[in-house]
Symmetry: C2
Subunit: 494 residues, 2 copies
């Protein structure tokens, strides 16, 4: 450690503090802001982003990075991460960054209309420009990072795993699903149909229940808020996390499962190493790691039989009426229902990866130049037919459904399924390490699981990349068998 | 106008945009933030303030200010205000700025305990240090502005009026009050006592009423929010104003009058000239001008007989019960009640200036070196006795009651009474210029008044200082007779 490194730590702390301000303003824009504030908010966020970029790219940073020395299991990766962040920020010509910002904003606006009218040709030229610029960025980054162009994009969301590692994992899942999905459907068909939950579910009671359940997961509301927004998310900062959800008076699962999911994200942020706050190494380890934390809470823990038993009692106590529909088997029939659908965000745990595999392959081909934007709808429909045996009736329920590509996010999609797989692997390791974990879940007690996650994942910050973090926590790199074993136990046991 | 001036406009717009981000984070801290977020929020605000200060004080600014040329009724004062802002920001040695920040924060913390325990000696040393540094700052600014030391502090809150102009105005008010207060008390004593309003006042119904009434004043909730906080305030930005209030289930006036007051502030921000947004000349004209806008709405318009008649009907419709207590005379007996009290923030319209006059004289003497901090409690008690004939039972209800001095704000207090006087002067001019203004108020219609304020005050931004703004709007500089005439009509007509 030397003076140059100390200067960098101060500078990166300042940049991270600006990032916290941006995070709060983003949350406000989604959860609080009146519509008339939007234009001014855009300016505020752009100004903060510009100042942060300036702080990161002035010549003094390159000089200090050349001179900096750091050793040890935290400082060494911290300096390494500073170099990566700086490289990515300074590698791209300003003209390209500005062209991307304009192209993404223009495409997103057109996409909203194209999706509403199921009119892919409307957005095709704008999306073509987005893809062209993404390729240009990917090539520029690739020359500096030594990664492939697509991996250079993926690294912006998730460090420490390559497309070459992901592809065989996804192909194996495709093969697994070809057998598992019809089996699961057959087993499901033989079971009694789900009995509707009695309801109604007054929003105020749902809200109190959601907060209570997130407190069960360990969220401390002295450092958190729960609010409403159109699209649920987890925002804010580690000391002040802001989760949101959307309440439907006729469906309690939507808000409740959403809050439990976002609480998993929130707990990751809350558990990041305080000693490394506002340093690159003190951040979360990437989007796949983040998704593993929302899914280990929502999918692994909260939709498990033991926790559903606890939750059914809570629901009945809260909303009254007939107790029978709140039994574990009926809740499972509702909340672990498998079906082949067109829409990713509505998909169940078993078919969700098919949606991600489809997008991973298509975006890789788009960036690699093996697929043109004009051919995207046909490739999408053929791909979904191959994976799930269904074909969307229009592009609104096909290649127009997600905002991601139309907003310039390429390389993000794999995170969802890498996260789901990591969640299963972490859960298996936690069960091995922590005796009585499921017995605790049956009492609604998340502390044993959360204690393990605090030590093995949250507290490690970004010290380790995705694969190394899994090695540290579970003793092995990504092992998709843990996920398929979990799915077999949950969906294929007759 | 030249290139240097254009560069300055861009730079000041960037600084103002940072200021908007700070304003939103301040609002969030008071209205939304969980307590655990406080330390991080302090860092975020300090970082933004530091970046804004850097943008304002780099050498390029002084060079551009030296070269800049601007003419016309907006650009010329804009450049002049840029010079003042820059002068104030760059005049003070960094060591002094930091010493003040530390001393103010330390004193504020000790003050909270001193106030809770009515223990002035506890805070005396810390307040002594605050005063010493304020004097140092005042001297440094005085040397550059050519104003007196105290006026240099006052200019930070209110431009365009000096203590030499204020002192005779306040002395005349003191003389007026010596006669008026006993008369008003005697008249009040001869009237029937106020009959309690029936209540209860459920918070949800109060909230809806408060929003409806602020909409009556013209606030557009596409650009505004109404929330709750311990101390009501108006924050946010011109495109996205955030007002807050505090609901008491047994008292509807507290929240309602508070919201109407803050709506006056909010409407000033909303009506600032959009073409000059984010330029110094596009801001409000100072704290006295701002207070004139909250008080013309709350005190002049909403507590007038015509509006009370409208409001009484609204209240009865909202809360039901016996209609009689909602009559104008009974509402006036509640909401225009005069009494000699120790606490400024609880004071009525007639005695409020006495509290301000006391503080103005004491802070001027503290900064001028004519009063020591050790002698403050005795001077306070003697001063209040002279003005209102009462003496506080302890310092918590005396010189410890306000946060201002203990947080390093000297020169702010006169704004309250200058604003009250300006509000009366503006109201008289509006009545002269706008026929049917009171008839409209009786229907709850604020549009005639608001249209006049938009043109005469809000739309003028900071183009004119306090006295010049009054000249522009009313044809004369501050004329306290308009205020005393208003008080005579309201409180001394038997």
């Amino acid at each position: 450690m030397n003076a140059a490194y100390d200067r960098l730590k101060s500078r990166f702390a300042r940049i991270a503090t600006l990032g916290e301000a941006q995070a709060m303003l983003h949350w406000d824009a989604s959860a609080m802001m009146p519509p008339g504030g939007a234009a001014a908010r855009g300016e505020q966020l752009a100004t903060l982003a510009g100042l942060a970029h300036d702080l990161l790219t002035v010549p003094a940073v390159a000089e200090d990075l050349a001179d900096a020395e750091a050793a040890g299991e935290w400082d060494a990766p911290n300096l390494d991460l500073m170099r990566r962040v700086h490289l990515r920020a300074s590698a791209l010509p300003t003209a390209l960054v500005e062209a991307m910002a304009r192209a993404n904003a223009a495409c997103e606006t057109i996409w909203r209309e194209a999706k509403a009218t199921a009119d892919f040709p409307l957005v095709r030229p704008a999306l073509g420009e987005v893809v062209r610029l993404q390729r240009e960025m990917a090539e520029a980054l690739s020359g500096l990072t030594g990664l492939s162009p697509y991996d250079s994009l993926m690294e912006g969301f998730q460090r420490g795993v390559t497309a070459a590692e992901v592809e065989p994992v996804f192909s194996a899942y495709e093969a697994f699903l070809a057998d598992a999905l019809p089996q699961a459907e057959a087993i499901q068909a033989r079971r009694p149909a789900a009995v509707p939950l009695p309801g109604p579910f007054p929003v105020a009671a749902q809200k109190a229940l959601c907060q209570r359940m997130s407190e069960r997961v360990g969220l401390d509301y002295a450092h958190a808020r729960l609010d409403e927004s159109l699209h649920p998310f987890c925002g804010g900062t580690p000391n002040d996390v802001r989760i949101t959800t959307f309440y439907a008076a006729d469906d309690v699962a939507k808000a409740l499962m959403g809050v439990l999911h976002e609480t998993g994200h929130a707990q990751y942020e809350r558990g990041l190493p305080a000693a490394w706050a506002r340093q690159p190494v003190g951040e979360a380890a990437g989007m796949a790691a983040h998704e593993s934390q929302s899914l280990i809470i929502e999918m692994q823990a909260c939709r498990s039989d033991p926790f559903l038993a606890f939750l059914g009692d809570e629901l009945h106590r809260t909303f009254g009426g007939d107790a029978a529909p709140y039994g574990t088997a009926n809740l499972a029939a509702h909340w672990r229902h498998v079906s082949r659908g067109f829409i990713r965000v509505d998909a169940d745990e078993l078919t969700y990866p098919a949606h991600v595999i489809l997008r991973f392959r298509l975006e890789r081909a788009l960036i690699g130049g093996d697929l043109t934007v004009a051919d995207l709808p046909e490739a999408w429909n053929a791909g979904l037919r191959g994976l799930l045996g269904i074909s969307p009736p229009d592009d609104a329920r096909g290649c127009l459904q997600d905002i991601h590509w139309h907003d310039g996010a390429f390389g993000y999609f794999p995170s969802y399924t890498l996260g789901a797989m990591a969640a299963a692997q972490l859960m298996r390791a936690a069960r091995r390490d922590v005796p009585g974990l499921d017995a605790a879940l049956a009492l609604g007690d998340m502390r044993p699981l959360m204690g393990w996650l605090r030590e093995k994942v949250h507290g490690q910050g970004a010290r380790l990349g995705f694969q190394d973090l899994l090695r540290f926590a579970t003793g092995k790199p990504l092992d998709p068998a843990d996920f398929t074993d979990h799915l077999r136990a949950r969906y294929l046991a007759a």
